[in-house]
Amino acid sequence: MSIDGRLPQRQLSQASLGSRRGAVMAFSEADTCLDIQGLSLAYAGKPALKDLTLRIPRHRVTAFIGPSGCGKSTLLRALNRLHDLNEDVSRRGSIYLDGHDIHDSRVAVSELRRRVGMVFQAPNPFPMSIYDNVAFGLRLQGGLSKRRIDDVVEWALKSAALWEEVKGRLRASAWSLSGGQQQRLVIARTLAVEPEVLLLDEPASALDPISTLKIEELIRTLKPHLTLVLVTHNMQQAARVSDYTAFLHNGELVEYGPTDTLFTHPRLRRTENYITGRMVG
């Protein structure tokens, strides 16, 4: 996703949404953005992910669903190596981003995290002004002119559908915004560093229904430009916004496929039980 002259609104019309229905994992090797190969993860010796293998398609929304503690958030955090901070975590297997192993010693973790942005469950704007929040990632890169930063901040806020609400008070504290606005600000902040992948960890679970709708709309708007990975508790949400859905249970990948297929014709009884609410999460 790039900012130069390509605002999301313009590209939305070009997005081809029609081909989704027929796709039974019908994306090629070249369309794979993230390739997870035999990934196992353990917290302090306790296994959290067990030998997962799945491919996440480029410029699509992939949802991870499953009961609490199934490992879906753990998997998400593995994708931008946030687990590196925890000394108790051990890992086996590999993750490839555009064919490159993200655990390669030549990969700078900070660069990886810039390319694979993340939005958390609770909105976490920094205690600074709205403008400074969005400019935070840009300033880390350094060497950008004041005007360039201004442009990118405006573009990012527009992309996150927040510009109209905050354009008059960019210098106000980010903490003065409502929860929904804060979450969109966090998305704008992440978009400002032009990531290729956006990880969303239950981004709407702390928000009211209207804010949730706005976030979902935003996800749809961003899809043509970004690979999105969404963790959610909300089955309807997964059905509404995602193209592919992976169902995880007890750290295992139970079923993975196009969202329509998974929700209408689940192959396994376990999946069906979960999505129809018979399995208590």
């Binding site: 900070s110 976490n124 920094f126 990632g137 880390l140």
Partner: protein, 526 residues
Amino acid sequence: MKIPGHTAVGSKTLRRPHEGPWAWLAAASVALSVLMLGALIVLLSVKGLANFWPSTLHEVILDDGDTVIGVPFEQRTLPGGEGVERRYWIANRDDGGGIWRWLSVPRLASDQTPDDLVVLERRHWGTFFGRLVAVRLEGERLTGEAAWLAMEQRLKELDALRQARQQLTRDDILPLIRRMEREPSSSETQHRLDDRQLQALQARAKELRRLQQGGVLVLENSQGQRQEQPLEEVLDAWRPNAMAWYEKLGHWGGELWQFLSEGPRDANTAGGVWPAIFGTILMVLLMSVLVTPFGVLAAVYLNEVAHQGRLTRLVRIGVRNLAGVPSIVYGVFGLGVFVYGIGGSIDRWFFDSSLPSPTFGTGGLLWASLTLALLTLPVVIVATEEGLSRIPLHQREGALALGATRFETLTRVVLPMAMPAMLTGLILAVARAAGEVAPLMLVGVAKLAPQVPVDGEFPFLHLERKFMHLGYHIYDAAFHSSDVQAAMPLVYATALLLVVVILVLNLTAIFMRHYLRKRHGAPVRR
């Protein structure tokens, strides 16, 4: 708000009988604390500030004809009901006796407050109570009201001369002498030049001193005995009984200002405390500058960098326990390590020429500040660590997810957010350091150091000099002065001042914290 038809359900007060005692007990302890605090401030204010008020002079004649001029101080009933005694401050130490006198109240034949009674504040022998008979000035002898006016005029002149001379000494003579001492090996011509300049300056000082001389007061004490008083020894004179209330108020303000702005006199029992105020504030500021970076860095290491294992826990417990070590222990450490160890080495390396008289190898401002920084280090570390650990994980993760390194996360998100906690630590440190006296006695405080450690001479801030401190001044005046009773009002005033200074220092830090909190937004409650 009352709504018609509704009855109140909830109540904050405890109503049922068995709940009462706990509430009362809690309320009583709060009330007691507030009362004691209030009593302390009121006592200090009343006793301290009343000292500067020009109190009425009484002329008392006893039944045997003995006359006493003085200020009544306190009254007590003798044991066994044998009458009442009143204590008068009669001043006039040069009359041979003490400055206090107990008089039996029933023996007082008359008690008057004549307008012509005079109070003189003198450089030697303290205060004088009595009457002004005449002034001899430049061959003239003036009596009556003319004498008073001439004396007031001359006192103003003397004050100006005294200040001019002080300024000359402080700004010209002392710096020159210090420079000559520091550079004894400079060239012969330079040396001669300096010598000549010094002689010229000293001649000018002598001239100023000569101009102050001349002028004699003829005074009469309560017994009617005459005595002569050189006018240049008199610092101030007033007739309290003849003053209107607004004149008294003006006099009170003037005295208070002198107390705040001048150096001490008479072995610290009179005069002002300016060098002590300055020394206290400067030392606390220096300590803050020293302790903050150390404390913050240590807390960052313990909380952010170190592996959270047994060793880190042990270090943390150790740091917390250091806060409880008696301050005199730090004083001994400072004396041994800073003054003798480091200071002695500095002297050997850099000030070899002035040995054996020590430069840094003796107590001084730097070593006192360092010792206090060490003393308050645990407080800053603990407060900062608490602030750091309170910062939610998702704030750090937010920064990391944007591609910030751990260092960038620390400097751009974590530390700014922990700033209020650091300032809280600093506030606690200042509160503790400003009131410490015991360690300072070992590492640099002086009974008398009228020169403040900042002046116009390079390097402007003289870290090696000894300094005065309000806390030590209180101790010295209360226990080491020749007349503890006489010094008591000054002790109260100084104690009040110390409390005010600490309050001001703390308020500054609190306002800074408030400002930072506002700048970084109000904390979100989740």
